[in-house]
Symmetry: C2
Subunit: 281 residues, 2 copies
Amino acid sequence: MIEGVHFDRSWISLQDIGWRAAAAALSDVAAMAGRPLGILLSLGVPEADAGSAVVEVQRGAEALCQEEGVQVLGGDLARSPGPLFLDVVAVGETDQPVLRSGGEEEDELWVTGRLGGSALAVSGWAQGHSPPERARAAFARPRPRLREARWLADHISFKAMVDLSDGLAGDAGHLAAASGLSVVLDAEAIPLHEDFDPSARVGGKALHMALTGGEDYELLFAAAPGSMDPRRDAFEERFGVLLTRVGTLSAGSGVFLATPDGEVRPLEKGGFSHFQGRKNG
Amino acid sequence: MIEGVHFDRSWISLQDIGWRAAAAALSDVAAMAGRPLGILLSLGVPEADAGSAVVEVQRGAEALCQEEGVQVLGGDLARSPGPLFLDVVAVGETDQPVLRSGGEEEDELWVTGRLGGSALAVSGWAQGHSPPERARAAFARPRPRLREARWLADHISFKAMVDLSDGLAGDAGHLAAASGLSVVLDAEAIPLHEDFDPSARVGGKALHMALTGGEDYELLFAAAPGSMDPRRDAFEERFGVLLTRVGTLSAGSGVFLATPDGEVRPLEKGGFSHFQGRKNG
């Protein structure tokens, strides 16, 4: 995570930056239903920030680790002649990793939580105003779905899972492609972040952010038809996290969006390209 | 490893940069006598370098991995608005990690290879001329002492080990401090890189570089008195690598240098400070 590319210090605190980088890395462990063991935190820090920035960023990463019952196991520190940057590696273990390639035809796609909050916050900052508090928190203090993922692995017939770092459209596409299938997402079903103006859905702005915004760090997984419904209440009650069926895997390839008017249209590739930077298309 | 801090592209190729970062990380696995499993390579790449630089750096890292029989297991890629930078995490395993804290009073300190080559190369570049080829290779294409470390762990009564990333004085100091002891280094014994001018020892420049230059990625280890001597020939024959006794652990604290005139003087802390950058004191 690089200053000026993935975050801006006028948006969030140095502690948030540490928390967020640790959360993003641990979210990859969650996506495989792994048990987290800890993180390695490497920091490149501009000379002017030397002492305090290092402490603040570490403190944020440690706070998230404490929440998840893991530790900062090690890392490295260097002077950066450019921006502040972090590289976090999460260490986890599992005997049965859930891969993205296990989806089967007719599997249901489910998602945890609500989507688009991070994108909503970034959009606010980009326009020069403070985003709503919950959207800000979605960006600044995401929680990797570690416990949720392990519960799911224990309780349902699991096929494939990813975490939502690139946006629902992109990550559903990754899961479908890895499974040799296509995916149809149901526009009406997609759970939008609470802070979206109800009118925003009409114009499609909220839906667009949920589909392409990225960095929600929710889980998207494929489950055998009918296997999730009987356990949804238990999940939502236990974790206080919404669980929503958002689509279906089918033969073929590509990502499609089914709209209320009965249309099914292909989605362009969107989301976050790690090389080209954020796309606000 | 950050451009402008740890390397300069006018010194070495992008493939060298990848090799070197991978070697430095795997050297930490060697220092614990671990079995390497692979590396994770994260790259921050300026926009202007996009395609080719990524391929070149990866190719260099893969070449070193192939030499060591391991793989690039994963990593990440981001656009850097500043310099090119790399973060490499090495993954290894061991049932009996050799730590730096196990040194005992009267243990002998031994070092593999010859020291100061990297510093000699950097000093050449800094003065605007091309360094001798072997010194250049010591900087650009270091070999982590993975096989050597495991052989040593199998064949001698091991106490403590570090790899030389900060320079002999600094790293011997780390080992001694972790073991609650002091260390006396024997100035005459320190094996200097082949490319040093024989006259350089007189002025102390070569010795200074060997003591504080860093980035030699040789092993420094503590062995019970007399335990290494009978096995030295076997080691040198097997690996074609020099093995030299350079000092002794004693009660107390600090790092001292014994000179031919019989003087024993404390060494100032030198070597490479990861935050302040290279010190050519």
